[in-house]
């Protein structure tokens, strides 16, 4: 009896979290008049709303932009982040302690304080309405560096010494010896970086006005707030579904990695 109650509660939770998404998907396929219904099924499903969204906004292009921006920033955060993390964990140099403190310090700065000056920097560099503005300020992450450092500290020194005696350069040690051992931390940093850049809206809204350069969430935001959707619910829901789909598909395959990475991101507090 008690366990029946438990399952009832768990199921109720599942409905609360999953039903709205199913409703969104169903609504994007239904004719306008049927959307308000709580019933998920309809005899009149069609792709009409999707056709309209594709016609009205360059969402395929926006998808490509989002992929480019997220992929470049992720590659950069992993590549450079692991280098700095390695130096902090395994190399000796003057000012190491200071650098580490500095990186921890940057993590405590609320982003509100640097947002406007960063935007002005983009304007002064002439980077607004270019990929550079979307990518450059996200090329490194203090949090990524700290995660890499933590992980690299636990790798046995003997392994590194052996490689040094064999004449490996530090760069070769990092990429040939350390990287293959660091899959978990690389996946975590990569996934978190990709997700946060993929979902970022505020910064793109600030630095990009040119429609062909907009990221996917930004374009959908403007579609929603700018009146292009003509208050047609079906269009809005179709746009929201298109925006959610890539992430949901990725999540369906790599669910465990998503959850584990997010859990470790919470530990920074």
């Amino acid at each position: 009896m008690k366990s029946a109650l438990k399952y009832a509660a768990l199921l109720a939770g599942a409905v609360v979290f999953a039903y709205p998404f199913l409703w969104m998907l169903a609504g994007s396929l239904k004719p306008e008049l049927e959307i308000a219904s709580l019933n998920l099924l309809s005899g009149n499903f069609s792709l009409q709303s999707y056709a309209q969204v594709l016609l009205k906004i360059p969402i395929a292009r926006a998808f490509l932009n989002s992929i480019i921006v997220s992929a470049v920033t992720t590659a950069s955060v992993v590549f450079f982040g692991s280098m700095v993390g390695y130096a902090l964990a395994r190399l000796r140099f003057l000012g190491k302690k200071m650098l580490y403190t500095l990186i921890l310090f940057t993590m405590t700065i609320p982003f509100q304080i640097v947002l406007i000056p960063q935007y002005i920097l983009m304007v002064k560099l002439g980077w607004t309405d270019t990929y550079l503005a979307l990518v450059a300020p996200a090329m490194m992450s203090a949090f990524g560096i700290i995660l890499f450092r933590q992980f690299f500290m636990a790798i046995p020194q003997a392994l590194i010494d052996a490689a040094r005696i064999d004449g490996c350069s530090e760069l070769m040690i990092l990429f040939r010896i350390i990287w293959p051992l660091s899959r978990p931390v690389i996946i975590t940093v990569a996934l978190l970086t990709f997700m946060s850049n993929w979902n970022e809206v505020l910064w793109p809204l600030m630095v990009v006005r040119e429609q062909s350069l907009m990221t996917m969430p930004q374009l959908v935001t403007i579609f929603t707030t700018g009146g292009q959707a003509e208050t047609q619910l079906g269009y809005l829901l179709a746009a929201a579904t298109l925006l959610s789909l890539p992430v949901v598909i990725a999540y369906a395959f790599f669910q465990r990695y998503f959850i584990e990475s997010m859990a470790s991101s919470g530990l920074k507090g």
Binding site: R92, L99, I103, P110, V201, T221
Partner: protein, 297 residues
């Protein structure tokens, strides 16, 4: 032999190659962290719309902020959001985590479902909730109607709009905190429960005197992360309400954005960001102190 030499040489001078490893970050830091930080100190003393030359106005931006009703309104709105969002988040996350941790089947599946809103773009979630909250044809009012309860003006009543956003944000983020609580629960040593059992503590007492105190570090993390998240609230009011009705959902970030991009007040927007950062740091420090005191007493 050369390898051995290199190891011997590294002894005193350190690794010269190390500077190449950190150089990219140092450049990045100077350009995108240090420079904006220093520039923000300059901006707060100026009036500037980017196009015309900067104009030095001393402390006038701060003067204006002190008398700015909208600034106070945005802080108040954020606090309203946090007062509802944080307790709701903690209670729901803890309840679901306890359920998931009680040896039920299908744990992984349920956890995956609860986590789904976390990965979906905030814009998509906000568009979805716009329809859920819609007064005339929204899911929620439809359900209430079926149960014979009058419709709730979720987004149109200034007293209800911010709480509505707080509920939506909880729905979106609670998955992260469920996972954090699950980690916390698994880190509690079994022996503690065995000892409590021997002392004759029932389920409730075990929860009160073993589980809750042991989860305290997790609660601290959740409170701090939710607070920072609450102060960063932007896309939800931007898409849902535009800050209305009657400025009741104007968040700090939205106000900064409006000042900078609707009115071109860069100096004042930077001042708002500056003061907001101080408020955030203040609130977080205060929270930490309060929670830590609570445990020691």
């Amino acid at each position: 032999m050369t390898g051995l030499n290199r190891i011997l040489r590294r002894g005193r001078t350190g690794d010269r190659g190390a500077y190449w490893f950190i150089l990219p970050y140092v450049i990045f830091f100077c350009a995108f962290v240090a420079y904006p930080l220093i520039f923000s100190f300059v901006l707060v003393f100026h009036r500037w719309n980017i196009v015309t030359p900067m104009e030095w106005i001393g402390l006038k931006n701060f003067d204006r902020l002190i008398g700015d009703a909208l600034f106070y309104r945005s802080v108040l709105n954020t606090l309203t959001f946090l007062i509802i969002h944080i307790p709701l988040q903690v209670v729901v996350a803890l309840a679901l985590a306890l359920l998931l941790n009680s040896g039920v089947r299908g744990r992984g599946l349920f956890r995956a479902l609860y986590f789904l809103p976390v990965v979906v773009s905030g814009v998509a979630v906000t568009i979805l909730w716009q329809q859920i909250y819609s007064f005339d044809y929204g899911i929620l009012n439809n359900i209430l109607h079926a149960a014979g309860i009058p419709s709730v003006p979720w987004l149109v009543d200034p007293r209800v709009a911010m709480p509505s956003i707080a509920i939506m944000a909880t729905w979106k983020n609670v998955g992260i905190y469920i996972v954090l609580f699950l980690v916390g629960l698994q880190n509690i040593p079994r022996e503690l429960y065995e000892a409590a059992n021997l002392d004759g503590a029932g389920t409730f007492k075990q929860f009160r005197y073993v589980t809750l105190p042991m989860l305290n570090p997790t609660v601290v993390v959740i409170v701090v992360l939710s607070t920072i998240g609450g102060f960063s609230l932007f896309i939800e009011p931007y898409v849902l309400t535009g800050g209305g009705p009657m400025q009741s959902t104007l968040s700090g970030m939205l106000y900064i954005y409006n000042q900078a991009f609707s009115f071109g007040h860069m100096g004042y927007a930077a001042t708002l960001g500056f003061v907001y950062a101080l408020v955030i740091l203040g609130v977080v420090v205060l929270q930490r102190r309060m929670i830590e005191q609570d445990v020691s007493s």
